[in-house]
């Protein structure tokens, strides 16, 4: 169903790719080149703090990827909302989290369970919107840390799975169920937890917690106390939050987060102002929670264009850059020291919510704010130019491999009552997420290979149904990507040619990873369709109605 197209600008993009290759590999006299450290493991959410999702392992390569076979399969229990995690692997042990915040430690060679931990959850988790799924665990300091769907932080022993501490962080019952659907960030001896908040009648926070004890150290309010940014009472239920994992950058000692959208999503009339710090990239000092800098990508958002996605860190021409995709389809390239803008490029071909954006200031030009009570077609849809699942950057090709979708949405904003106990009703200012529609002349989904700084495209793989999973790239010059129907594909990182595919039996909504044990490389695929995409996308792609749910880890390796 997919087809590969060579972009017109292939030649120049290749040159830039080459230039980047040199720029991206510094002299690195001390220690390994960035992204290549600790090659056998997948020790944190994006493997390395720079957000690359690059495994330097190269045993599996273009010549042999076609021979991959299943090494083991693990069933993760409850399949509600599928499996959305990026597993962690350290020294041959896989740490996995599935629905209901069930954590398991598995033998990386056999998939055999070493221990399992299942917290007792507040029954209110059955009523709230963002539950019971989780995107991962954090491992360090001999502990495994999770944020729970009832707003707690929990630490268990890395060897035994026995609980060490727990702490209630969000005011779960009074913030319309604001909670944790992502793992915390470990910054030396401090954990930072970002909560859900956008789409909820809440004013969300990021919490700093002592990793050894679970003691809360600080709170950072993602909704700024500022009457100019938030008139009257609007700050009280402004949303925000940081629902995806941040990253700790040991070079600067800062934690980067992207924040969620302001509420109510599609109605801005009672919150005239910039609505800081929603839709922003923020840099926090993890010791104190002090804000070091921020860049708001979308001022006064009325389209649900969160900035929650990953921060890709790159070096170019002596500059330290932070590349950041906003749901709106604009990719912001900034200086990671202060957030100042270097460039803005478009991942999406179909943007109509603004006529343009000023690449110097980041100001939107010619906004299309959908009026209340009538239907306006807005592109991209609230699902974004890409889902939250990250792309992957390969230092060998200098390319960023990223999924994209071209989907618009007929939105009808309405005034909506605000009630933080109305748990099942999104606080978004409309009666539904609108009528999703395809864009004539465009494939609905793509995997793009792009220069992350200029956006130039080297190759594209088109899909009838967009991917809602994360991309993996490896030292074997491969790219792995899965689709909602359950097919995982391996691509040649340079040409985009499909080299291998496998039907996993359920859709991909998670993070593919690679690790090695005893000299053998594995590709680990969490397969299990679920989430709001699974609920809402069948209206546009009827084939998806038939995709079964699952919560399965499938490990692939080469035959002996």
């Amino acid at each position: 169903m997919g087809r590969r197209t060579s972009a017109v600008d292939f030649g120049s993009a290749a040159l830039i790719g080459l230039a980047l290759l040199f720029a991206a590999e510094p002299a690195a006299a001390q220690g390994p080149a960035p992204g290549t450290e600790d090659p056998n493991n997948w020790p944190q959410y994006h493997r390395t703090y720079n957000g690359w999702r690059y495994s330097p392992l190269d045993q599996i390569d273009k010549s042999n990827v076609g021979k991959l076979k299943v090494a083991w399969i693990h069933q993760g229990g409850d399949i509600t909302h599928g499996i959305q995690e990026t597993p962690i692997v350290i020294d041959g042990v896989v740490y996995s989290v599935t629905a209901g915040n069930r954590i398991a430690a598995l033998d990386g060679k056999t998939g055999k369970e070493i221990w399992r931990f299942e917290p007792k959850l507040d029954p209110l988790t059955k009523k709230v919107l963002f539950s019971p799924y989780s995107r991962g665990v954090t491992v360090g300091r001999n502990k495994v840390f999770i944020g729970t769907v009832d707003g707690r932080g929990i630490a268990v022993d890395q060897k035994t799975g026995k609980e060490i501490w727990q702490v209630q962080l969000t005011d779960f019952a009074n913030c319309q169920g604001c909670n944790f659907t992502s793992p915390p960030v470990l910054a030396n001896d401090v954990l930072t937890y970002g909560s859900t908040g956008g789409d909820l009648a809440a004013a969300a926070k990021i919490f700093g917690v002592e990793a050894e004890t679970g003691k809360k150290l600080w709170e950072f309010e993602t909704i700024k106390q500022d009457a100019e940014s938030w008139p009257a009472e609007s700050a009280r239920y402004g949303g925000g939050g940081a629902w995806l994992p941040g990253a700790y950058d040991p070079e600067t000692g800062l934690v980067y987060y992207g924040t969620g959208n302001p509420g109510k999503d599609f109605v801005g009339t009672d919150r005239e102002g910039d609505n800081l710090y929603t839709d922003s990239v923020i840099a926090l000092d993890p010791k104190t929670g002090t804000l070091k800098w921020y860049r708001q990508e979308i001022k006064h958002d009325v389209w649900d264009y969160d900035s929650a996605y990953e921060a890709l860190l790159l070096k170019k021409d002596g500059k330290d850059l932070l590349v950041h995709l906003n749901k709106s389809g604009f990719v912001f390239v900034m200086d990671k020291a202060n957030g100042s803008l270097q460039n803005i490029w478009r991942l999406s071909d179909t943007i109509n919510f603004a006529k343009d954006i000023d690449a110097k200031t980041g100001d939107l030009i010619g906004r299309l704010d959908p009026p209340i009570g009538t239907t306006t077609v807005i592109c991209p849809s609230p699902f974004g130019a890409r889902s939250w699942n990250p792309g992957a950057y390969n230092p060998k090709t200098g390319l960023w491999y990223v999924n994209a979708m071209e989907i618009c949405d007929g939105l009808t904003p309405v005034m909506q009552k605000t009630d933080p106990k109305d748990y099942g009703t999104p606080h978004i200012g409309s009666e539904d997420f609108g009528k999703l529609q395809k864009v004539a002349g465009h494939a609905a989904g793509r995997l793009d290979a792009r220069d992350p700084i200029t956006g130039e495209r080297k190759w594209t793989y088109e899909m009838n149904i967009p991917s809602f999973g994360s991309v993996l790239t490896t030292g074997g010059a491969l790219v792995f990507n899965g689709d909602p129907l359950g097919i995982i594909r391996a691509f040649d990182a340079e040409s985009g040619k499909v080299l291998w595919n496998f039907n996993t039996g359920s859709g991909l909504r998670s993070g593919l990873i690679s690790y090695a044990v005893d000299g053998k490389q594995y590709i680990l695929v969490p397969s299990g369709w679920g989430s709001y995409a699974a609920i809402l996308m069948p209206a546009l792609f009827p084939e998806l109605e038939k995709v079964p749910g699952a919560s399965t880890l499938i490990a692939f390796t080469l035959p002996d």
């Binding site: 399949i79 509600t80 909302h81 599928g82 059955k126 009523k127 709230v128 919107l129 019971p132 909506q416 009552k417 106990k421 109305d422 748990y423 099942g424 009703t425 999104p426 009666e431 539904d432 997420f433 359920s506 299990g528 369709w529 679920g530 699974a534 609920i535 809402l536 996308m537 069948p538 209206a539 109605e545 079964p548 749910g549 699952a550 919560s551």
Partner: protein, 114 residues
Amino acid sequence: MLRTFAMAGALVICIIGAAYSEDSSIPDLKDPKVISAGRELYLEKHCSHCHGMSGDGGVNLMHRDLSNPNYLFEAIADGRESGSLRMPAWREVLSEAQIWQVTAYVMSINGRTN
């Protein structure tokens, strides 16, 4: 997908129907006023998100047997899981009277295609 109890449905409804007429807390589910209050809740509480404004959305309610009011009440009150899909529970978020109203609306839209 047809529910296995579809055949037995008619019988169940007769029995339940008899029980209802004696229970004054259950509104008349055919009363247009109850249905229209249900429609308002259906939109206000975003049932429409997942089921579409008129039941033909992502989780389609049209091509099913939704004739058993007790079953519908329980499904809405306790939430439902089907495969990996999940509907939140509405008990205590909505009052019992409100759950009966949305039940009436769901039955009315479903009836339109039957």
